[in-house]
């Protein structure tokens, strides 16, 4: 299941490289900002999925809006001569790190849960076996 998003990412990359689309000069910078915004939104989506509150509509509109706003801000900053481009990268980068750390914590918690459950299960089984053997010895 986890492979599907990874495959999709590879398909997208291949598609782009095969089409050999070239953006002229400055537009590539806006696209770079848009890519960072996209990474942030996708990580946010994965995070909310792990937290169990993922909503498809929120995610898709969030992706499109974030990408559009980030590249618009970069363009606008160029027009008024302020490097909003750096600010966008900085904020998005911070959010990427936050999202990644939350994802990491969620996964670790899940892993610990599974381990704990297994331990409890095996303990319960051992206890059961013990009482059974006790019952047997009593019977003899």
């Amino acid at each position: 299941m986890i492979l599907i998003p990874i495959l999709a990412l590879l398909v997208g990359l291949l598609l782009g490289f095969m089409l050999k689309l070239q953006l002229g000069g400055i537009w590539q910078i806006y696209m770079a900002v848009a890519v960072v915004a996209g990474i942030d939104t996708v990580l946010g989506g994965i995070r909310s999925a792990l937290e169990g509150k993922f909503r498809g509509d929120v995610f898709v509109t969030g992706f499109i809006a974030n990408v559009a706003i980030a590249s618009f801000l970069a363009w606008f900053g160029d027009k008024i001569g302020a490097n909003v481009y750096f600010v966008a990268i900085l904020v998005l980068g911070t959010r990427i790190f936050t999202n990644l750390s939350i994802i990491r914590r969620q996964l670790l918690t899940k892993w610990h849960d599974v381990r704990e459950r297994k331990r409890l299960d095996s303990e319960a089984k051992a206890q059961q076996g013990e009482s059974e053997s006790k019952a047997q010895t009593v019977a003899t």
């Binding site: 495959l7 999709a8 398909v11 990359l13 598609l15 590539q28 996708v42 994965i46």
Partner: protein
């Protein structure tokens, strides 16, 4: 895989099914993200395009790292081919005595053109450097308001770097061993004294020369920071530069006998 599917179907908790609903939107958006990344991916050509948007010091740091060796290699290779062809032509000419003098003369003319021994004609740029009137008795400030020998030297050097094929300073052709020195209040070009205004003419692709000489952080930019009036650059569609008239005799250096 089929076991997974089965377990999903029999699972009575519908919540578990909806846990996977994020996979489709995230996959689609990741595909879009991959596409965007590949579009934003930089190759060598784009990188040079983006360099122009960097500040001069950033550009300098970058250029130290990435000289385009591949391009230089290519041009050297084509030059080797050209020279080999020329060699063949000369050898053929020697073999058939009739063409020999013609070919030799052509080769000689090319040599003379290269070493600035013939007048040349073509497009280029004209740069005028001039002193500005010193405002007061402040000696340190007035140092910047005078055109020095090093300024001329650096302009000539940048022009050569930009691909100028022939350069003349105040109508004195710059030859292979032309030098610029400071003598008192004047500048010595080889044996000729010159003073402000200094007119430097360079032959070559006008647009390229114009762009290169006006690069931020370049020598002209530096001079302009003192006073923009000190520098004037004009595009010239057609001009003539005289031949180099200095000494061309060698006293010590000899061609080795065992030359290849």
């Amino acid at each position: 895989m089929s076991a997974d599917f089965g377990s999903n179907v029999v699972n009575p908790f519908s919540v578990r099914r909806s846990e996977n609903k994020w996979i489709l939107p995230i996959s689609v958006m990741l595909m879009a993200l991959g596409f965007m990344t590949s579009v934003a991916w930089l190759d060598n050509a784009d990188r040079s395009g983006r360099i122009q948007r960097l500040s001069p010091d950033q550009r300098e740091r970058l250029s130290l790292g990435t000289l385009n060796l591949a391009e230089e290699n290519e041009s050297l290779r084509s030059e080797v081919t050209k020279l080999r062809e020329e060699n063949t032509k000369l050898q053929n000419a020697v073999a058939q005595n009739s063409n020999a003098s013609d070919s030799l003369n052509k080769s000689l003319q090319e040599m003379k053109l290269f070493s600035a021994l013939t007048p040349v004609q073509g497009p280029g740029i004209a740069i005028t450097l001039r002193d500005v009137k010193t405002g007061g008795p402040d000696e340190i400030a007035s140092m910047g308001q005078i055109i020095h020998d090093t300024d001329v030297l650096r302009v000539v050097n940048e022009l050569k770097n930009a691909g100028a094929e022939a350069i003349a300073v105040n109508n004195r052709r710059v030859g292979p061993n032309t030098n610029f020195r400071c003598v008192g209040t004047t500048i010595l070009v080889d044996e000729t004294k010159i003073a402000s205004p200094v007119l430097i003419k360079a032959m070559g692709d006008s647009a390229t020369l114009f762009g290169a000489i006006n690069l931020p952080g370049g020598i002209l930019d530096e001079i302009r920071q003192t006073d923009p009036k000190m520098v004037d650059v004009q595009l010239v569609t057609d001009m003539r530069l005289p031949a180099f008239s200095g000494s061309t005799t060698f006293k010590v250096a000899k061609v080795p006998v065992d030359r290849p």
